[in-house]
Symmetry: C2
Subunit: 401 residues, 2 copies
């Protein structure tokens, strides 16, 4: 096997010129591009035999590559402005407008527990919702009510991450993902069209999402009510992606809540290739997840591993293979206790789990989920794991007070 | 207005930090990304006031940028192999297999007019079909018959470009676009999935399509029956895209047939933004046309202009504005007669055409077509323009014989 390069960036394995015909499999372009992806191993794949010094160097490269891929603008932005506030049960909620892009406002909510102020600052958490969710849902406000007028949501939902954290004493910030909720276009969630515009410009949905979140995170560091040494980023589902991007790019984030199952996206694309009833072999997700070149550099387990030694909790399982290598990274970083993970209840008993080192090709979505220990109907914000973890994490600070 | 940069490559205009709020339009991410695209002028936009020396320098940069964006592999490929042949009425047809990627075969047809051989070589044309068309259609063979066994297509169709050229005395090569026809996946034309795989790898559908065509074009240059100084590339619709990529990257191509209407893709995305009945504002094409960063560098009229002084025929009109600047480029290059263009019959009379310098925003597809002088129901291979053009183009060579 001989290496060739696609342009300057993307290296693929190639049969040499003399024996190309002998391994020809067929004429399907779909199969050809699958082979290209299979032969393109991520350049920063985690090597668990690294020394601590090598691990530190690898983390630096992970951070540099994430910074390159996210392509954040490098100009200053206007400071956010508070536009509304209201008292809720146990906390004050404020609405702020940020200005991450020209001619555009990106609003967010800040939930400040009663008793927290500049003389008594608190840890803070940036809450990033999942696909189709809104900052109103996350902040316990009524759907579509962008003014804070009237009553909040009548029930405390599991997805109301920010409320759960505020009741725990943290300042909680709730944001929208691009194109959802208040960021939708006349009420249309057109994330695919916005993704397309961004991709045309050499940017990406995640690049924009993480940029919007970074602007707000940087603002959080300036707020006197917030202890900027105790910033947590909490992502649910789609929201775990900006979490990971910001995690690699910003050393000052203290800890991370990863509320989704963990998987290798590249592997999933390569094995979830069972033809449907029409003979069509698909792709496991849509363009809001597309970051050109991302999977040629790293995959999500590598990124979580590169957060070591900072505390991370993964709440919806995945393959033990991946948790093992992340745990090994935390060992190398000298903080084995800082990585915590939980499987779905259905797979909590080790006897119920699959233990594969590689997934077989030819899976459909359900088969993939089964082999990856994923119980997708029970995909929700797991406060039963997260709140005790937060309490333990911050217990040291509180005992010092 | 102050320039900021998205990462290292994509420059966007931005309001400065101090006045961002004053120009805020709203919270729609869709509007935000449209603004980003509007503010991102293509870096190599044609300047018709250039001197010939500046024009030559600009062409060099156009070529370098296209080479960068197409990301062709840099390894040698195995030589193509002939796998079948048959005699047809006035020409011999051969089927060849090429090997542009690992484990993959890409077949193509070669039509050699009777009397053409290594002692009597002929000009040649690479024929690239449109969306959903196949090399069989282009080569006058029966749909789905990949063996050359039995009879050819019973009628001579307009789309049978290669047959029309062979009957004109040229060696004609017919290829498939990726994921269509024999390159489909078990008969499924899954161009969106293959595009997605390629984009994940930092490549693109056009990058692959132009690479496949380049491998075949380079092979054509080695064939003794072909006069390699008289290579024409002919694209219909989707097939005009590889034509333009190869045109910038390969100075040895002699002339080009651009069989589609000419338009500025970036402008089209910016103005074709009328909400549909559901309030959704779309994007004018799908992911097989997505080349990240492409529209930040140039647009199609710029590319055609950069082919000057080589002969080009555009057969399906567009906006006179664009033809005027391309004509100016041919003036600068000292070859005003080498650029020929025709409008759709419906718009052949100048009194029937729109003459806009800029298109208004808020158009739907039909309104865009009307203002851009496009008669889409009459989108077909215009042999009535192309064959006389080819005859004139090659008349000089023939009179020398």
């Amino acid at each position: 096997m001989k290496k060739i390069a696609i342009g300057i960036l993307c290296a693929v394995a190639c049969t040499s010129a003399v024996n190309a015909q002998s391994v020809v499999k067929g004429t399907s372009t779909r199969s050809a591009v699958e082979t290209l992806m299979r032969d393109t191993k991520p350049s920063l794949d985690l090597d668990t035999t690294m020394t601590p010094a090598q691990f530190a160097q690898w983390k630096k490269r992970m951070s540099e590559e994430m910074t390159r891929l996210m392509r954040h603008p490098n100009a200053p932005v206007a400071p956010p402005v508070m536009v509304a506030q209201a008292q809720r049960d146990g906390y004050r909620i404020e609405k702020w407008n940020s200005f991450p892009l020209p001619e555009t406002v990106v609003p967010y909510y800040v939930l400040i527990p009663d008793g927290v102020n500049k003389n008594n600052p608190a840890p803070a958490v940036l809450c990033v919702p999942g696909f189709g969710q809104t900052k109103e849902l996350v902040a316990g406000e009524r759907a579509g009510n962008y003014t804070l007028e009237g009553e909040p949501d009548s029930v405390l939902r599991k997805a109301a991450m920010a409320v759960h954290f505020a009741k725990e004493g943290l300042v909680a910030v709730a944001v929208d993902n691009p194109s959802f909720g208040e960021l939708s276009d006349n009420g249309v969630n057109d994330y695919l069209v916005t993704s397309r515009f961004l991709l045309e410009l050499g940017w990406s949905y995640l690049g924009l999402a993480s940029w919007q979140d970074k602007v707000i995170l940087d603002w959080m560091k300036t707020q006197p009510e917030i202890n900027k040494d105790r910033l947590i980023v909490c992502g649910f589902s789609l929201g775990t992606e900006p979490l990971m991007a910001l995690g690699l790019m910003d050393d000052s984030i203290y800890a991370f809540v990863y509320n989704d199952f963990l998987c290798r996206t590249r592997e999933r694309a390569l094995v979830m290739n069972k033809p449907d009833a029409n003979g069509r072999r698909g792709f496991p997700n849509s363009d809001e997840h597309l970051i050109p070149e991302f999977l040629t550099v790293f995959d999500f387990p590598d990124i979580v591993a590169a957060l070591a030694p900072r505390p991370v909790i993964c709440t919806e399982g995945g393959m033990d293979r991946d948790f093992k290598i992340i745990s090994k990274a935390y060992d190398i970083a000298g903080a084995p206790e800082a990585f915590e993970y939980h499987h779905y209840a259905k797979y909590a008993d080790p006897a119920n789990r699959q233990y594969l080192d590689t997934l077989p090709s030819g899976l459909d979505r359900n088969e993939f989920f089964r082999l990856a220990n994923v119980d997708s109907p029970n995909h929700y914000f797991k406060m039963e794991w997260i709140l005790p973890w937060v309490r333990t994490l911050l217990a040291g600070d509180r005992s010092k007070k």
